[in-house]
């Protein structure tokens, strides 16, 4: 009696566990590359398909969390099927480079398309999109004109009004690393302490609830990445969030801390040429635009065509190199944790 059921179930099992079709014809020998990516956007897949259409190079994709991908690549070593590693945040790219997971790629078009401070000096990774960590202000509680720099967030006047995400957030870590480079350790430590003294609510574990709390007046000012606000304004998280985001004033501290998502060719790759081609495509104005628009990010150069981002106005990047930020990550984390930034 159980048999037909079991047979039906096993059919489902077999269908479900079937690895996705790969071109297995030994004759055609189509080039395939494996991509490990820390980004999860359906439009990315469309972009990879476009790349395949143009070059004939098939892309196999594994999306996961950035740190998990780094560990996986590390454990797999030379046997890894990955040719390209895409990571979000400068610190992670630098970490992967430090662990020897990348090999240098030589490409004139990458040198041209990726600004010097947004790529590794040895060509191991290249920035693909930019995001800015900005202050969001509720004008009813805090006068936006009083926030001109990140340092202003430490002013005692903001006591009880500042809300922050916790120090586990790699975006905050990179911001602190950035300030370490620009302002040195003593000033940065005083700044972190000042901000922590202003925070009276528990640290948030994500950016969107933080932006909501500011919009609702539970906080007066907070630090978030631009794209979280842009998403809310685009209505991605519903009309209520859209209305909330419209209450927010986005303030670019001057100069602004710019972070990146980026990619490099893995050490284990045997398809250096094809892998480089993919990164070139993603860094090119066409591919890069798709990558940036998927997540309301800024392209490598200029402000792009996203009307919501245009509405935020312009900013002056502080020009700190992503590579340097990565190198200071450990110091930044340590500074945050020893000065009360939980």
């Amino acid at each position: 009696m159980l048999l037909p059921g079991a047979a039906a179930l096993s059919a489902v099992v077999v269908a479900g566990l079937q690895p996705p079709a790969r071109s297995q014809t030994a004759i055609s020998q189509a080039v395939e590359i494996g991509v490990y990516s820390g980004r999860h956007y359906n439009t990315d897949k469309a972009l990879y398909r476009e790349f395949t259409r143009r070059t004939g190079i098939k892309v196999n994709l594994l999306e996961s969390k950035d740190d998990a991908l780094i560990e996986r690549l590390r454990t797999e070593g030379n046997r890894s099927p990955a040719d390209v590693l895409v990571l979000v945040d400068a610190a992670r790219l630098d970490k992967a480079a430090d662990l020897g997971l990348f090999q240098p790629a030589r490409s004139a078009s990458l040198m041209r398309d990726v600004p010097l401070n947004l790529r590794d000096s040895r060509g191991r990774w290249f920035g693909l999109t930019r995001r800015v960590r900005v202050a969001v202000v509720n004008p009813k509680l805090v006068n936006p004109a009083t926030i001109r720099t990140y340092a202003d967030l430490a002013k005692p006047k903001l006591k009880g009004k500042l809300c922050l995400r916790d120090s586990k957030s790699v975006y905050n870590q990179s911001l602190v690393a950035d300030q370490l480079i620009l302002r040195g350790e003593p000033a940065t430590r005083a700044w972190v302490r000042g901000m922590v003294a202003n925070v009276t609510q528990p640290f948030f574990t994500s950016d969107t609830p933080l932006a909501r709390a500011v919009a609702k007046g539970d906080c007066g000012v907070g630090l978030v990445n631009t794209y979280y606000v842009a998403r809310m304004l685009a209505g991605d998280s519903g009309n209520a969030d859209k209305a909330l985001a419209q209450q927010l004033k986005v303030v670019f501290p001057n100069p602004a801390h710019v972070n990146i998502s980026g990619a490099g060719v893995t050490k284990s790759s045997r398809n250096l040429e094809a892998a480089t081609k993919l990164i070139e495509f993603l860094a090119s104005p066409t591919g890069g635009r798709g990558y940036a628009e998927a997540n309301n990010e800024y392209p490598l150069k200029g402000y792009g065509n996203n009307p919501i981002l245009k509405g935020f106005g312009t900013f002056k990047a502080d020009g700190v190199s992503a590579e340097q930020m990565g190198a200071r990550n450990r110091q930044a984390v340590n500074l945050m944790q020893t000065n009360g930034w939980k």
Binding site: G16, L17, H40, L62, K65, K216, G238
Partner: protein, 513 residues
């Protein structure tokens, strides 16, 4: 407890070999980890530091609070729905299975999202305790209610005929008999809590499991991470040892099946109201909240193409079924061997084999990658190995408790009548264990469908599952995109929970026969 072993000669050594092989497979990752930790300066990393102490304190507090609250809630609801009748009690009994369908990280994400729309901060230890109690108490409910409905009916009848009221019968007869099952349920929930990552991270509670991840991936210190994982393992071992001690003290066997089932105690007035509230609250909270959240988030729905959803769903379903079948089979072999072969070493091995549940998924994934790498094992094989290793305790807990209620005289009688050990297994134990087998299988299925860290770390290219998708979207803070895969997980979980209904009803009818 050791039953008179019906195994002789080759049968017995075959079983012993099977135990050794299965236990070795289950223990290999843990042993590999210990060796790995030993190779590095791990013993230095055992120093916890202030952060580590906070993680440890939080973990212990969580395990204890969730254990106590879950035991109370699970036992109360198990008893109320098995032996009392009140308006809606039949439906509410089935509804106790609903919380199984909701992953803890999903419930936490839902609560936080709903809260932040209404200016409530859902954050911290108390919320973590609430979320984890609601999502893990069904372990206690399922294991204890089976005992309330089936095993103790004779004794209950006797106590009723002696004029003992419902409370007295519960306290003096039913509860002591159900203790092994409750203990097994609490041990399972404790392991689940030690392992929990998504929910505690979202709620901002640093625990050992998040510390392990931080040491490994942020500090680049895998050996230190493993050292921390070994501490977590010690906590769980203590838990399991306590549970076994408890079980040893209350050893009672089911003597024959119950006679005529007496009508359940009818509750009315405030008693009925309290019973209804207690049994209604957890399903409403765990299933109702995500559904409410879904309803409120309809305007942000971003659907994936249906064929993509179908692929994701069938992968989750396939992995779940495969893992369930494999794990239950392994669990049965180990449980039977533990009963029949009174060899202390084998006993210990079969006990240790269940420890995989206590190893955090991320660490187990690391171990499997270390093992699988040099041998070029397929990622899918590693994945299923990981699931079985991790959820063996879930399948085994119920089987062990179920076997303990079958008197050794049953085995003796069967062998006395000339049955071979395979025949005893096939004709006596498997039929008697149908309940625990089904419950174990479905629990493993649901756990696999909800499982994250292993799937996340070990899956091959282009092989996302529902839970992977949900977590990716949720960690990107894109609720709208996570919505449909999340609902599909709930649906699969619900289907599994509903598959348990006949087993709940059968218990009732067995006792009514």
């Amino acid at each position: 407890m050791i039953a008179a072993p019906p195994t002789r000669g080759s049968g017995r050594s075959l079983l012993a070999i099977a135990v050794v092989v299965l236990a070795a497979l289950a223990l290999l990752p843990v042993v590999g980890l210990a060796v790995f930790a030993w190779m590095g300066p791990a013993m230095a990393s055992l120093a916890l530091g202030p952060a580590g102490q906070e993680q440890m304190t939080n973990t212990v507090l969580l395990v204890l609070s969730v254990g106590v609250l879950g035991a109370a809630l699970g036992t109360a609801n198990g008893w109320l729905t098995a032996n009392c009748s009140f308006a809606g009690s039949r439906w509410l009994r089935i509804a106790q299975l609903l919380p199984l369908a909701t992953p803890a990280y999903l419930l936490a994400a839902t609560l936080i999202d709903l809260g932040s729309r209404n200016s409530w901060r859902i954050h911290g230890l108390l919320w973590a305790i609430t979320v984890l109690t609601l999502t893990t108490y069904p372990y206690v409910f399922l294991l204890s209610t089976e005992s309330f409905a089936v095993s103790g009916t004779r004794q209950l009848e006797a106590s009723r005929s002696l004029g003992v009221g419902p409370w007295g019968s519960f306290r003096r007869v039913a509860l002591p008999m159900a203790l092994p099952a409750i203990g097994a349920g609490v041990a399972l929930s404790g392991m689940e809590v030690v392992n929990e990552l998504g929910a505690v991270e979202l709620l901002g509670v640093p625990t050992l499991s998040s510390g392990i991840l931080q040491r490994w991936q942020n500090d680049g210190d895998p050996q230190g991470a493993v050292a921390l994982a070994l501490i977590a393992l010690v906590i769980v071992s203590l838990l399991v040892a306590a549970e076994r001690q408890l079980r040893r003290r209350s050893r009672r066997w089911l003597m024959g099946s119950g006679g005529d089932r007496q009508a359940p105690w009818a509750l009315s007035g405030w008693r009925a109201t309290i019973a209804q509230l207690l049994t209604l609250l957890p399903p409403v909270a765990t299933l109702g909240l995500p559904l409410l959240w879904a309803g409120l988030s309809l305007d942000q729905l971003q659907s994936e193409p249906p064929e993509e959803l179908l692929t994701l769903g069938s992968r989750s379903l396939g992995l779940g079924l495969l893992a369930a079948a494999l794990t239950v089979a392994v669990g049965l072999v180990l449980a039977i061997a533990k009963r029949w072969i009174p060899q202390p070493l084998l006993q210990r091995l079969s006990f240790l084999a269940g420890m995989g549940y206590a190893v955090p998924g991320t660490v187990l994934a690391l171990a499997l990658m270390l093992i699988g790498g040099p041998w070029q094992l397929s990622p899918l094989l590693l994945l299923v190995w990981g699931y079985s290793d991790r959820f063996l305790a879930v399948a085994k807990g119920g089987l062990d408790a179920g076997l303990e209620r079958i008197a050794p005289s049953v085995d003796e009688a069967a062998t006395g009548l000339g049955c071979s050990w395979t025949a005893v297994l096939r004709r006596v134990h498997v039929p008697l264990l149908q309940g625990p087998l089904l419950v174990g299988g479905l629990l493993v299925f649901v756990d696999t469908v909800k499982e994250l860290p292993l799937t996340f770390a070990l899956r091959p290219f282009d092989f996302d599952t529902l839970s992977v998708r949900v977590y990716q979207y949720a960690s990107d803070e894109r609720v709208g995109a996570a919505l449909i895969p999340a609902l599909l997980i709930l649906l699969l979980g619900l289907a599994a929970a509903l598959a348990l209904v006949p087993s709940l009803n059968r218990e009732a009818s067995v006792t009514a026969d």
